[in-house]
């Protein structure tokens, strides 16, 4: 058997999307064949002859419910492999299958790999099947718990940012513009964890609810601020970090937001975790997006803003390059036009704040037009007089249709 991955589609197996997948790792091919045979037809079984191939299989042939690994293998032993698996795929149930019956191996397997079970070689069929059945169930429970937590978290964040929208449409719109830019930058840079970085972008503006309207207005327009007002802006990431600090699964988001604090600002040093490359990169991207938003809000062109940011010398070079690429494309495609409120359509994007005649900003620029937003605007029109026309960007297909 060559040193490559093998997927064993066994006799009379009827595999569906629901069939749990099990990854077997051992440098002895006959052990892999035997284990696969012992498992019967209830599982989709993939095998790997070494640790690197196993990690590759987890990335490309998943999702898996269970990984069963040999202990002593060349290059990467089972404990090291399961340690990597724990970090990269924490929901996967890990089982060590070993002839090393010694205490040191068991301790390392539990402490470093946090294994679910420890199987001794050669493993009797019943014990193997019982273990895999329990391991799959463990995976199901962990996944279900994670899914519930994930849904709760997303809904809670939606509610939190909904409150920001109600409290300060300007700040919410600014947060949305920064988030959209961060999302585009992440995609351009090929980054993972985009969701966390986008949440950090929105969260970075939560502190805006503490700003006096005059300061928020200046922030929104990218205007220079006196020292005392700048301190309020510098304190915003700290406020968000305190608000979100105890929320489960948002540890990286909090670290990203905390990383935005200026060194020595607000009485504390910046908290960028240098041992987490993702956080460091995310902070760089988010800082670039916030700064860019400030420049463009002041009316500076995208090109000049990027040149100015480059001159500051403290921005991530890759983020600036990505910014240049994505803005180059966007500016060619977008065109803002004047509309009456009643002419706005779903899919357009508000280009200038929609303001009441008394100066109150009702909808911030950058917000996409949705059915709900149209309904809100209609309601506003019954209560206050809005300044018209409003400016909105028409997406390309709509623009073509309108021209025709």
């Amino acid at each position: 058997m060559s040193n490559e991955l093998t997927e064993l589609w066994r006799r009379t197996s009827v595999l569906t999307g629901e069939t749990p997948s099990v990854l077997l790792v051992d440098d002895e091919p006959t052990v892999l064949e035997t284990l696969s045979h012992q498992l019967g037809t209830e599982y989709r079984v993939v095998t790997a002859l070494d640790g690197m191939s196993a990690l590759d299989a987890l990335d490309r042939q998943g999702p898996f419910a269970v990984v069963i690994s040999d202990m002593r293998m060349p290059d990467m032993d089972g404990i090291e492999l399961l340690g990597h698996v724990r970090l990269r795929h924490p929901g996967l149930t890990r089982v060590l299958h070993t002839a090393q019956g010694d205490l040191a191996s068991a301790i390392a397997a539990i402490n470093n790999g946090q294994v679910f079970r420890f199987l001794c070689k050669p493993c009797p069929t019943r014990e193997l099947r019982d273990t895999v059945r329990d391991a799959v169930e463990q995976h199901r429970l962990v996944s279900a718990e994670r899914e519930i937590l994930d849904k709760t978290l997303r809904a809670s964040l939606q509610a939190l940012f909904g409150c920001l929208e109600l409290a300060s449409p300007q700040a919410f719109a600014r947060a949305g513009r920064i988030r959209d830019l961060v999302g585009a930058l992440c995609r351009e840079l090929g980054l993972n964890n985009v969701w966390e970085i986008e949440v950090a972008a929105m969260a970075s503006q939560l502190g805006a609810v503490t700003l006096p309207p005059s300061v928020l207005e200046k922030l929104d327009r990218g205007l220079p601020l006196p020292e005392d007002e700048q301190k309020m802006i510098d304190a915003m990431p700290g406020i968000a970090a305190r608000l979100l600090g105890e929320v489960p699964m948002l540890e990286d988001v909090v670290e990203i937001v905390s990383g935005l604090r200026p060194a020595g600002g607000a009485g504390q040093p910046a908290l960028v975790a240098v041992d987490k490359p993702m956080v460091t990169v995310a902070v760089g991207v988010l800082r670039a997006a916030i700064e860019f938003e400030g420049f463009t809000s002041r009316g500076v062109t995208a090109e000049n803003a990027i040149v100015a940011m480059g001159g500051q010398g403290d921005h991530d070079v890759a983020a600036l390059a990505a910014l240049r690429r994505i803005r180059g494309i966007t500016t060619e495609q977008e065109e803002a036009r004047a509309f009456r409120i009643g002419e706005l359509e779903v899919g357009m994007r508000i280009a200038e704040d929609i303001v009441a005649v008394n100066g109150l900003v009702l909808i911030g620029r950058g917000i996409s037009v949705t059915e709900m937003l149209l309904e809100r605007l209609t309601n506003y029109k019954h209560i206050v007089e809005l300044i018209e026309p409003v400016w909105a960007v028409v997406p390309a297909p709509t623009a073509t249709r309108a021209a025709a």
């Binding site: 052990v31 002839a99 070689k121 050669p122 009797p124």
Partner: protein, 129 residues
């Protein structure tokens, strides 16, 4: 004690005793018997070269393949050789290759016996040791 271990292990691997499954067991045993002498030669070479790391690795590989089919005589000797190599006492493993050759031959006989029974439809377990 090789025979009961081999017999018990192969009996344990049988799910339905179908022709397909018997063919699978035959293939597994044939693969082991074909590769084991090569693995043993590799181990012998490593012991002769006093290469403890290679010897431990080769002994471990043969141990795993043998244990997988219940050839505990072979796997036991390999475990000893691996332990000696890991402990830096490889010089004490000089006799192991010859002992392993005998154990492997013995295991081969028992595999043949068990496979004959399997093809004849005889029950593998229980059977007197």
């Amino acid at each position: 004690m090789t025979a009961p271990d081999i017999r018990a292990r192969i009996a344990d691997l049988l799910v339905d005793g179908s022709a397909h499954e018997i063919a699978f067991i035959e293939r597994l045993v044939a693969s082991f018997l074909e590769r084991a002498p090569v693995m043993l030669t590799d181990l012998e070479t490593a012991i002769a070269a006093a290469d403890a790391s290679a010897a431990a690795h080769k002994a471990h590989a043969l141990k795993g393949a043998a244990a997988n089919l219940g050839a505990s005589g072979v796997s036991g000797l390999c475990a000893e050789a691996e332990r000696l190599a890991d402990a830096g006492r490889l010089d004490e493993a000089g006799d192991h290759p010859d002992l392993l050759r005998s154990a492997l031959a013995e295991a081969g006989d028992h595999f043949a016996e068990v496979l004959d029974d399997l093809r004849s439809g005889l029950p593998l377990v229980p059977r007197p040791a």
